[in-house]
């Protein structure tokens, strides 16, 4: 007989003898002599192919808290801002926009990191995220991408400040190098969250894996453009063009969801989560698209600002809607068991009758 390993968590007195005792007790007393407790409302539907296991969900709901959808929003906007910054600097020749976008990217990276750490069950262990590198885990890739993006966007923003105050050429060059790396990491960072939730066992998420990253990315572009506009760049034509493109893609994604008849995506169309998805979709799709097109012709800054606010609200609502839709999808026990709803209703009726029959026999 070998000795047992040390285990500080173990309840005192648990031993091999105790396990044998549990077994003996079960043998002598584990005999059921009567029906189970039947609370008011019983009998409940029985367990069967059509009714599932008492309707108890098979899958676990996502346990992420409010920080994670907000992180999706902030990360999407920050990543997009980094790309916009580089384009404004090297293509658009708009240094003011480039500077503000660098700032937005760096601030977003810091806020993103804070949100992610805050959601951890053990925040003090956040560095364990960088303990290994796993290409097959979007969470691992995301953590590494955020670390790299945060470092380079922070360095780029810091160099911007330093160069602005001291006007040193080497600092400016180093800042530009950092900005180039920041942009490279911003490209996957701005939309990887779509892969993160799509590559899971949650039916409504994995069903939409082909559109989620693009959808989340464009939602982030919309938000990033709008934040920069609200910071004062509401006369920049390029930002409006980019906003029009992102809103157009979001409009298309909305139509794609509404026209999909697959019952798996039900939480995106029905109930509270369905309405949240719809409101988020309208606010980030057709509404800003129309407003931006109007502002392109009328040059109205108020219309432009309305489009920005609508896009930001829409992007934010969209992230929370997808999270809640995932929870609703996990609660639907029929999906992983592949039980159609119609069959279930029919069977519930039949089961009820059977129980009546049993009761009659018993009385």
């Amino acid at each position: 007989m070998s000795t047992l390993p040390e285990n500080r968590d173990r309840v005192p007195g648990v031993s091999e003898a105790r396990l044998a005792e549990i077994r003996r007790e079960a043998e002598s007393r584990g005999v059921i002599k009567a029906e189970g407790i039947r609370p008011p409302g019983a009998p409940f539907p029985k367990a069967s192919v059509e009714t599932g296991y008492y309707g108890i969900p098979l899958l676990k709901q996502p346990q992420w808290k409010w920080e994670v959808p907000l992180y999706f929003f902030v990360g999407g906007a920050a990543g997009s801002a980094a790309v916009i910054s580089s384009m404004a600097q090297w293509v658009g020749r708009d240094p003011e926009l480039a500077r503000d976008a660098r700032l937005v990217a760096a601030t977003g990276a810091v806020v993103s990191t804070g949100l992610l750490i805050s959601d951890l069950g053990r925040p003090a262990r956040f560095l364990n995220m960088l303990r290994v590198f796993k290409a097959q885990s979007p969470m691992s890739l995301g953590a590494w991408t955020l670390a790299a993006f945060g470092t380079f966007s922070g360095a780029a923003a810091f160099a911007q400040f330093a160069a602005d105050y001291f006007g040193s050429a080497p600092v400016r060059i180093l800042g530009n190098i950092a900005q180039a790396f920041s942009t490279a990491f911003a490209l996957p960072f701005h939309n990887y969250t779509g892969v993160l939730i799509g590559a899971t066992a949650i039916p409504v998420w994995n069903e939409n894996i082909k559109m989620l990253p693009l959808h989340f990315g464009m939602s982030g572009v919309n938000a990033g453009v709008s934040i920069l506009e609200l910071l004062g760049h509401d006369r920049c034509g390029a930002l409006n063009t980019l906003g029009i493109a992102a809103s157009a893609v979001e409009t298309f994604e909305g139509i794609h969801i509404e026209s999909n008849r697959n019952p798996v995506i039900e939480p995106l169309k029905h109930g509270a989560t369905g309405w949240a998805t719809r409101v988020g979709g309208v606010l980030s799709g057709p509404v800003p698209l129309a407003l931006r097109l109007i502002s392109a012709f009328t040059k109205s800054r108020n219309v432009r600002r309305a489009a920005s606010w609508s896009s930001i609200a829409g992007s934010l609502i969209t992230r929370y809607a997808w999270m809640e839709a995932g929870k609703a999808s996990a609660r639907n026990w029929r999906l992983p068991l592949e039980t159609p709803e119609k069959a279930a209703r029919k069977e519930q009726g039949r089961v009820g009758q059977e129980f009546e029959h049993i009761k009659e026999q018993a009385s």
């Binding site: 070998s2 047992l4 285990n7 173990r10 648990v14 091999e16 549990i22 077994r23 079960a26 043998e27 584990g30 029906e35 189970g36 407790i37 039947r38 609370p39 367990a47 296991y53 008492y54 098979l58 996502p62 346990q63 293509v91 003011e96 069950g121 053990r122 262990r125 956040f126 364990n128 290994v132 796993k134 097959q136 885990s137 969470m139 691992s140 701005h190 799509g198 590559a199 899971t200 066992a201 994995n206 894996i209 559109m211 990253p213 990315g217 464009m218 004062g232 760049h233 006369r235 920049c236 034509g237 390029a238 930002l239 980019l242 493109a245 992983p336 068991l337 059977e354 026999q361 018993a362």
Partner: protein, 274 residues
């Protein structure tokens, strides 16, 4: 060290829940409420952060005779559920900290000293097994009694099972024994007895398989569990497309406005705040 497995034979289970008790006592798992569910004698509900073994009570219409019950009572089927310890485990692939590992016995083990509670494994499990304990912060599930196996001992649940419904042993040997048991059950007229071990899906089989009667779905066992890594390719393709669109879109937008601004006032571009 040999690769091991559980064979849970529900035709032998009497629903005594000794496995639940033994698991909780051995592993020091916290209690998770004492509420009556009304679902037969199942007041546990499902496996989770604080439930690593869970006895399911599947009630059927009265069925006198073989495998049945007295005529005025429902017939029952019981089955002790547990982490499946998949060959391709969603939780293990998803874990960003490397906390979840495959042990030398083939089981999937969450190292509690590494887990930081990101809860990504929770949504990656196609069987809804692993969960984050909100009080503790970390994710927990069946350890396959890794501590006991290291000492050459049988896992606590299998040790405490009075009818040997929970069998533990070397995996290939157990698969053979399961086939023999099925033959025996079929010969005795239990034609609906079958094995649940999803080897034909992307999880590629498990280290905890079950003999159940009837459709596994009435035991909340999914017909097609898939490891979520199969969605990665489509996901990264879409991500690359999105990144390309952002890059191309912003390039075109700024090129167009830079060109347009040559003829116009630079105000639209430079004096954004004006």
């Amino acid at each position: 060290m040999s690769v091991t497995a559980f064979l849970t034979d529900s035709t032998l289970c009497i629903g005594c829940k000794a496995c639940e008790v033994a698991c909780k006592e051995w592993n020091g798992v916290t209690e998770d409420g004492l509420d009556w569910s009304g679902y037969s004698y199942d007041n546990t509900g499902a496996v989770g952060a604080s439930t690593w073994r869970h006895v399911k009570f599947v009630e059927n219409a009265p069925e006198p005779g073989l495998g049945g019950n007295a005529p005025d009572m429902n017939s029952w089927a019981f089955s002790s559920d547990v982490c499946k310890h998949c060959e391709e485990a969603g939780c293990l692939e998803a874990c960003p900290t490397g906390s979840i590992v495959r042990t030398e016995f083939g089981g999937v083990f969450v190292q509690p000293d590494v887990c930081n509670g990101c809860s990504y494994c929770v949504v990656a499990c196609p069987f809804g097994v692993v969960a984050r304990n909100e009080k503790d912060g970390r994710a927990f599930k069946c350890t396959f009694c890794y501590d006991r196996q290291k000492e050459g001992l049988t896992p606590a649940c299998a040790k405490a099972c009075p009818t040997e419904s929970i069998k533990f042993g070397e995996i290939d040997d157990l698969r053979l024994r399961a086939q023999e048991r099925l033959k025996e059950l079929h010969a005795r007229g239990m034609d609906d007895a079958r094995m649940y071990d999803p080897t034909d899906t992307s999880v590629k089989g498990t280290h905890a398989f079950f003999i159940v009667r009837g459709d596994p779905r009435s035991y909340n066992l999914p017909p097609k569990p898939e490891v979520p890594t199969i969605y990665l390719k489509d996901g990264w393709k879409s991500s690359a497309l999105g990144a390309g669109m952002l890059l191309a879109g912003s390039l075109i937008a700024f090129l167009a406005s830079a060109r347009g601004s040559n003829g116009h006032s630079s105000k639209t571009l430079r004096n954004g705040r004006g």
